[in-house]
């Protein structure tokens, strides 16, 4: 079992990019799912402009709950969330497209939260859809007529259509094959580079977290708390499959982390 009292370990000391403004700051003191069950212990997070931060952890450790609190979908039993972002969007694990709307109407759906005319919404949705590689034919299809990868890409288009300053990703890539996954990675990272969008991502895939993030937070369960913060030492453009494997190895070299993922002696595949 993990020792809760162990100090936070940071492989690389932070401090380089501290000049950027903070977009999101979450500090949960306590969160109870129901009166007798504590889901989250004190856990805090700050997200800077244009920064990508991942929370990894085993299933059921409370990382999705933390993301929901950060996104303002639920309120922590006690704690504070403050955000300077004008527009936020969430990409969920499931695509959550409305089955009774065509793809184009689904993409424009989220824009109803803004003061735009229907014509402007449609124009914007269409532009985003084309930028993300959808064809005119795809736009009139219902979600049931699209492949799994296209549905999730449609959900990403709906999220990016609102031009978010702050994007939350709740394991949205977990059901996709490696090729589709990389397409979506690139689309998200393009948004980060181009518009300085900040991203908070939850995933259980260590490699995915290392590939995309500036910082990785490891969450341990019972109740959920951050056990480790890891700053990814390579610039995003320098990351390759090979050196990510080495980073993963160095992260899992920490016994507590390896235990968390049931990955002690992790070179052994079966």
């Amino acid at each position: 079992m993990l020792n809760d009292a162990a100090p936070l370990l940071s492989v690389v000391p932070s401090g380089a990019a501290d000049t950027k403004p903070t977009v999101l700051s979450v500090s949960v003191e306590d969160h109870l799912y129901h009166p007798l069950q504590q889901t989250l212990a004190p856990s805090a997070l700050e997200l800077k402009k244009g920064e990508v931060v991942s929370i990894i952890g085993p299933s059921g450790c409370g990382k999705s709950t933390f993301l929901r609190i950060a996104a303002g979908l639920i309120e922590a039993s006690s704690g504070k969330t403050s955000s300077t972002a004008d527009r936020t969007a969430i990409l969920f694990q499931e695509h959550r497209l409305l089955p009774w709307k065509s793809l184009l109407n689904n993409i424009s759906f989220g824009l109803q939260g803004q003061k735009l005319s229907k014509f402007q919404r449609m124009k914007k949705a269409r532009a985003v859809a084309y930028a993300m590689g959808f064809t005119e034919d795809d736009l009139i299809k219902y979600p049931s007529e699209l492949s799994g990868g296209m549905r999730q890409r449609g959900a990403l288009a709906r999220a990016l259509a609102v031009e978010p300053d702050l994007l939350f990703l709740d394991e949205p890539f977990s059901a996709l094959d490696i090729g589709r996954r990389r397409d979506l990675y690139r689309l998200v990272l393009h948004e980060v580079d181009k518009k300085q969008c900040s991203v908070l991502m939850v995933t259980h895939d260590v490699t995915e977290a290392l590939a995309l993030s500036d910082r990785v937070l490891v969450m341990a369960p019972d109740p959920g708390h951050f056990a480790k913060e890891y700053e990814v030492p390579l610039a995003r453009s320098e990351r390759t499959r090979q050196n990510l494997l080495e980073l993963e190895a160095s992260l899992l070299a920490d016994d507590r982390i390896a235990q968390l993922f049931n990955m002690s002696n992790w070179e052994q595949l079966v």
Partner: protein, 260 residues
Amino acid sequence: MIHHMLSTLMSKLWSGWGTLAGVFLIFALWQVGFETFGSLVLPAPLEALSRLVDLVALPSGLEYILITAKRAFAGFLLASAFGIFFGLIAGWSNTLSLLCKPFITVALGVPPIAWIVLALLWFGGDDGTPIFTVFISTIPLIFAGALQGVRMREKELDEMAQSFHVPLVQRFWQVQAPQIVSYLFPAWATALGLSWKVVVMAELLSSTRGIGAGLAEARVNIDTASTMAWIVVVVGLLLVIEGTLLNPVKDYVEGWKHAE
């Protein structure tokens, strides 16, 4: 596009053809019944149909049909309005759904025939009795359909809409209403059929005008041909309503389910 329209037209024609074939099969079995048991039990279909033509040709015949239709629709529309309204609220509020439960149990448990007796005492022999009986026997179905629709909706979609700060009115019409309708619609269709049956029963016992009254008259005269003619009217009208009202509405609200 043209291919799509053609295939919809073909499937419409095909389903109409199926209905027609079913109707003719029923007439054929009816003819067999007539030849086996004699005209006192079952009149010849042709005789009943010619009686039907006679009945409709009379000014009172057409009037009876219109009166019955008016009563059935009045009761049904009232039940729809109240049933959907309270069903939605009960779906959103646990307190109200607990409060409504005994009312629904009572409305379901009391046999329609007992309602007719009560309604006769309350409303007399006029339109009130059949309208009330239709209302009270269909409202539990519609209420339950709306309630289930609200209860069974996917909370994830609400959460998604919330995350985009979509205003409440749009959230209701675009996210919740389509899900509610998919539960409500079957209940609504059943209630429409039921209202048609109940109105005739209520009229038979309480009214001097309407299809039910026509049936009561035929019973007094031991006139099986007229009885069957009225039955053909009731069933025929139900088929027409289904084809011209229910099915188009169903195609409209559930069109997205049949996208191939």
